[in-house]
Symmetry: C2
Subunit: 286 residues, 2 copies
């Protein structure tokens, strides 16, 4: 087997895996596009994983990506520049003290952020004030309680439960996806619509198993190993067996399912009771 063959094979594999990663991005983001000239605030952009997708799908929108971590913002800026995108401005700020006037933006986008907050309802109330009446709020979160896998394994279930407990100890909620409808409704948003998005990985989709089951979910669980062991919730042997069982679920006769929840609501400020009628075309609908 020549080097070029190996190289060619690797490139093909990389391409296939990229296709699967793109399919996951589509599952979550394909129906989010903002009109040319509209202003969008992305809260908690982190290292820009969603920012690149957002900016690429709405090339005429003006996106402000906010995060409180300077190092994350630098990485996000690098990724956006690398993608050749020029419609993103970066702002360093905490989401509870955003440096913007009320009604400064047409739309708000929040992805994988609320799960880390002790009071996601308060965050939503603060943030939606930044959106003009009639503007939209889009929230995407996962839910670790939605996981279904085969073959079943008690150590894998314990490892997932330990990650959920650690996140709860830190004030977050790994099960927040299911709560988006009441959360957005209670924050005062109107016309809230939620769509579950299930990733279903079976044996006929080995590339999706690689990208999602192994490299995304199992890697995330493996990443909390030291903290789980330090917490005394599991011993090393059981935790490692759990991670192996999750990898086993990515085999040709294994199954792994995970559900994300995507919610969209409309801002109706008290000052503008008829603002709802302004909702523009291109609104992110689920």
């Amino acid at each position: 087997m020549s080097d070029s063959y190996v190289h060619g094979y690797d490139s093909q594999e990389a391409l296939r895996l990229k296709d699967q990663a793109d399919a996951l991005v589509d599952l979550l983001h394909a129906d989010t596009t903002y009109p040319d000239g509209s202003t969008v605030l992305e809260v908690g952009c982190g290292v820009g994983a969603q920012t690149v997708t957002l900016a690429r799908r709405s090339p005429g929108a003006l996106i402000t990506a906010m995060d409180r971590s300077p190092s994350s913002l630098l990485e996000a800026e690098r990724r956006v520049a690398e993608a050749g995108l020029r419609n993103v401005t970066f702002v360093e700020a905490d989401l509870f003290t955003p440096p913007f006037d009320a009604a400064s933006f047409d739309h708000l986008f929040v992805c994988f952020v609320l799960e880390h907050l002790a009071d996601p309802a308060a965050a939503l109330r603060t943030l939606q004030r930044l959106v003009r009446p009639g503007g939209s709020v889009t929230v995407i979160e996962g839910d670790h309680g939605s996981i279904v896998f085969h073959p079943d394994d008690p150590c894998a279930r314990s490892a997932i439960a330990s990650q959920i407990a650690l996140q709860r100890d830190g004030g977050g909620d790994a099960l927040i996806g299911r709560r988006l409808y009441p959360l957005l409704s209670e924050a005062g948003l109107a016309g809230v619509s939620v769509g579950p998005r299930m990733v279903y990985v079976e044996g006929s989709r080995p590339d999706l198993a690689e990208v999602f089951t192994r490299r995304t979910f199992t890697a995330m669980i493996a990443g909390v190993r030291e903290r789980v062991l330090a917490s005394g919730r599991m011993n090393p042997a059981r935790f490692d067996a759990g991670v192996r069982a999750l990898e086993r679920a990515a085999a040709p006769d294994g199954i792994f399912c995970y559900t994300f929840f995507k919610a969209v609501g409309r801002v109706l400020h008290p000052a503008a009771p008829d603002g709802g009628a302004e909702l523009g075309q291109g609104h992110a609908a689920v």
Copy 2:
């Protein structure tokens, strides 16, 4: 409030609930239609809940509905007649000893049956022999492990776990949905394709909450109360609290999600290695 108003209101409510029930039927069955003149074996038709839908959606197909219970068959026959359908024949037989020659049917349909069997793989191997090469096998099952609800409640989780345990004690598997891909593949079916079908019930859908969360799922859990108490798995107070918590999930700010799995595979008998090419139009695809 006059009697006629009450009656009118009740009728409207009945219509709305019927719409929701129809939506659930569509979710599971809308993509199953069989060509005119084709022969379909429905195994384990029970009281005909699926038979009516099957016969109505494929009015030109010849359906044989089989069950081992004479009383269930009588009820199924009554329902099918009441629906004005004439394309169904009823046969009393056990699915492990079906009174048919090999390759007697074009298609096989199995819905909510494998979950009750100690050896679903053996059942599939036996049953698929009844289908001609190139014919299809469609299987639909639920998975109680896919349930996500809000607000969370430990008694509700225990009640569901108790039902799963009871079914396991009886030789069945309430978590079989996730296993359809490996089950059909290992039974020798080709081109197996599985589609998860999630029922997502949020506060904006009170009629679906009534039909699915309350009258279907919660009623099923409430129905095993005596067996759960007799098994000693839960005491009456905790079980009843669990049922109330499931009803609570059907409230306007509650959430209930359940995933069904629908699998379709193709029969490729060893005697007809090229049989796969015969697969006709109208094949139930997921």
